[in-house]
Symmetry: C2
Subunit: 260 residues, 2 copies
Amino acid sequence: MLTNPVLEAMKKRKSIRSYTSEQPSDEVLNAIAAAGQQAPFAAQLGSLLLKRDVKKNPFKAPWLFTVCIDLHRMETIMKARGWSRKMSDLGALILGVQDAAYVAENMVIAAESLGLGSCYLGATPMYAKTIIDDYGLPPKVFPLVQLTMGYPAEAAAVRPRYPMGFTLFEDRYPQFTTEEIARAMRVMDDGYLAQDYYRSHNAMIPLADGSEETFTYGDYSWTEHISRKLGQWGEDPSGLMNALRACGFFLDEPGTGEAA
Amino acid sequence: MLTNPVLEAMKKRKSIRSYTSEQPSDEVLNAIAAAGQQAPFAAQLGSLLLKRDVKKNPFKAPWLFTVCIDLHRMETIMKARGWSRKMSDLGALILGVQDAAYVAENMVIAAESLGLGSCYLGATPMYAKTIIDDYGLPPKVFPLVQLTMGYPAEAAAVRPRYPMGFTLFEDRYPQFTTEEIARAMRVMDDGYLAQDYYRSHNAMIPLADGSEETFTYGDYSWTEHISRKLGQWGEDPSGLMNALRACGFFLDEPGTGEAA
């Protein structure tokens, strides 16, 4: 397999949930933020909030970034040019999620290359109202995902991934065979079990319907865990829809940009 | 400013729209796809379609990737475990866009590190129906963004970005001053003008309301261009909503996963 420092950084990255108290330098901050900013964009719709308050950080990391989809800044510029936004919130959201995610991922890999660790916090949109208050967000800024960052205080293992043939499909999307599915599940489950991941994180998700638990940490692994997440959580889209609305994003309406 | 090969690759990357006819090796393909697959995930919801057909590639690049949000594969695994998805399509979409975007961005930077260039094609969702047919996509797979890739046949310049103070906000989202807005606009506009970008790409967007053009390629630049995009395009969200529905994503409904 080919290798170089970039591929190495990507291969080595894993989520870090324990950090040293060392405050990384402003030079490191600038390098990581600049790497994020240099990500490809449709319309530079990503912006970054930073909080350096270990006490308010979920993993006591020195940095907490909140990566936002920022239509407010875009509309400010459009206004200065005599334009108002017509593009729908849904259209701008789909572009904006990508702009913001590319910024975030560049930062994660840049951090890895500088010896820092990071962890994405996927539940961020559910805390939109708190984040609006904390940072004084204007309308049309949606907090997509948070990122803890700092120097790692744990030696986490790289987590397994599906086999390549279960991810990269040439010319046609395949009809998965029973054996291919079983093999992909085995790779994931055996991989996490070998690392004793769920036991060491005490991360088994309880059965919500009250039925008896049939798994132990000896056999509870990734495919069961992810099935319990997607099979039990977030059934009602109104929580997320309300979070979007609280940030001024109305997905089923035409563009709602401020008048110029 | 700190530097290393990872930061350098991110700093040097720019969209490439002209490619040599050289077919990159399968070793290079595997390295780039593996780098993408190694991206952080919420639920491994990103999957990759590949077409190696220069004639069907918008920039005659040797590779066209279509990066998808793949709930079908996830549900296949859940079914094998006796689960069906409850999480709403909106919730899964917000997680899935991130999973898919992190894969894509890792691939872009990995490609850069191996001497390849790439370009995101942001209009991909509007071609959902064609892509479903071309690749035989099952329901619950949404083509988010395409990526052309190959060895560059042009020496494109790195495009400008907002000043850092217009992107990274510590503790509070700022109230932009008129001068800050003007400066950010100047950085972007002067930067693209210095590269003669819009003239050399013949990329001026016409005024849709039929009013007289007041710009020339001597002063038409990024802030006017992006204003015309967001100020004229995509007002009706139903095109995108229909593309999502064609792929089996219903944003305003509770989870619609197949029954186990």
